[in-house]
Symmetry: C2
Subunit: 239 residues, 2 copies
């Protein structure tokens, strides 16, 4: 306690540290049941504070890069991944986020496609975890992940985020599985299908997935421009 107070009065002199972190979501097909679930990569802290706890990937903001570039860079450096979607989540700046120093974190969230996620390196200090059952993370990162999950669920219900989890061609059942994994509940296949077909940006191909145990499903393609989605005020297509 005495040490804590000393820290507080000490650090009141220094300017707040500014860092960029990223919550990265990917879909992985769990071995247990065949359905995909949400996973995310975390890095193990090798220094105090919170040494040996898992934390979100991130780092300081370099002087010559934009916030979004910094998020993409830290993501690339820690996991080797390229995101298919990247959007600012929130700026966290509470006084007691770190016991050592006042820290302001501008947090982004990202989606990666399964082919990308498959070649993600998993090392001693980088691990993948199911998003819905994390244990204690460093700093306030549990809160941040929960908020990112909330935003992801909102976006998937509203917009066209789901395709950023998928490859260029997909069955409608795969899209439904994305929705079900993100929202955590089953959806009516018939109604879901109609709903998707009624949107303008889904185009059917002439290809079918062969080799399944049942009737071969048709493959579809997403034709909506990725840029037309609202990921912040800087995408000029905001009306």
């Amino acid at each position: 306690m005495g040490i804590g107070s000393a820290n507080v009065s000490e650090r009141a002199q220094q300017p707040p540290e500014l860092a960029i972190s990223t919550v990265i979501f990917a879909l992985r097909t769990d071995a247990g049941h065949g359905r995909p679930t949400l996973w995310l990569p975390l890095v193990r802290r090798t220094r105090q504070p919170f040494r040996d706890l898992w934390a979100l990937p991130g780092g300081p903001l370099s002087a010559a890069e934009s916030l979004q570039d910094a998020a993409a860079r830290s993501l690339q450096e820690t996991t080797g991944l390229q995101p298919s979607y990247l959007e600012q989540l929130y700026a966290f700046g509470g006084l007691d986020r770190s016991p050592v120093q006042r820290m302001v974190s501008i947090v982004y969230w990202a989606l990666v496609r399964p082919d990308e996620a498959a070649l993600a390196r998993e090392t001693e200090n980088v691990g993948w975890f199911r998003a819905d059952c994390l244990d204690r993370l460093a700093f306030d990162h549990n809160l941040i992940v929960d908020y990112a999950l909330w935003r992801l669920r909102n976006k998937v219900e509203y917009g066209s985020i789901a395709y950023d989890f998928l490859g260029p061609k997909f069955t409608l059942a795969q899209v439904r599985e994305v929705y079900e994994a993100v929202l955590g509940r089953k959806l009516d296949p018939a109604n879901f299908r109609r709903q998707l077909r009624s949107t303008p940006d889904i185009e059917e191909t002439d290809e079918y997935v062969q080799g399944g145990r049942h009737r071969p499903p048709r493959l579809y393609r997403y034709t909506g421009a990725a840029a037309q989605r609202n990921n912040g005020p800087l995408s000029q297509t905001v009306e």
Copy 2:
């Protein structure tokens, strides 16, 4: 151009400056037609860059205050107002926001009630302007105001933001005028009324507004807890 390049290479050494700004909205009943419109306070810049242009109120982040506290403080200092709603908007960190120095601004947006807004001081360097017809502001503040407007319109359609523009008791027509001012279009009084009455948080009082030229309208009260609204991940009621 030569000077610009020198600045860029110079400032690449320094860490980015961190500032907090706030977009403050209030409803004012325009003298022209009786209907209220959206206004916001701006401060005149007295120094370079953008000297003599109007800008959003704000300032640096002190080491001992949270982001939201900093927003409330800068709001209080420049306009003397206390907001009825305050939420983080976005963190702006583009490389070319300021010609002088790399700057990261965490921007909040706020609503104030008309009684508060009425006693807002208007000085040589603090002025109020209609939100829909601003001329050139300092930095990227036009973009920021536009984005704040977009968020405000979204929130008003979805949530219970409108009551933060109003006093403790109000007529349903006043609520409708808030919606109309924010959304910029007329709404059917009959349907709007029904829609509001069907929400749980509107309670009728036994009072009526006397003295109008027509049938006296009933006064209502908003009973929804202000805390139950989602203004960010830190409101613990986020499910």
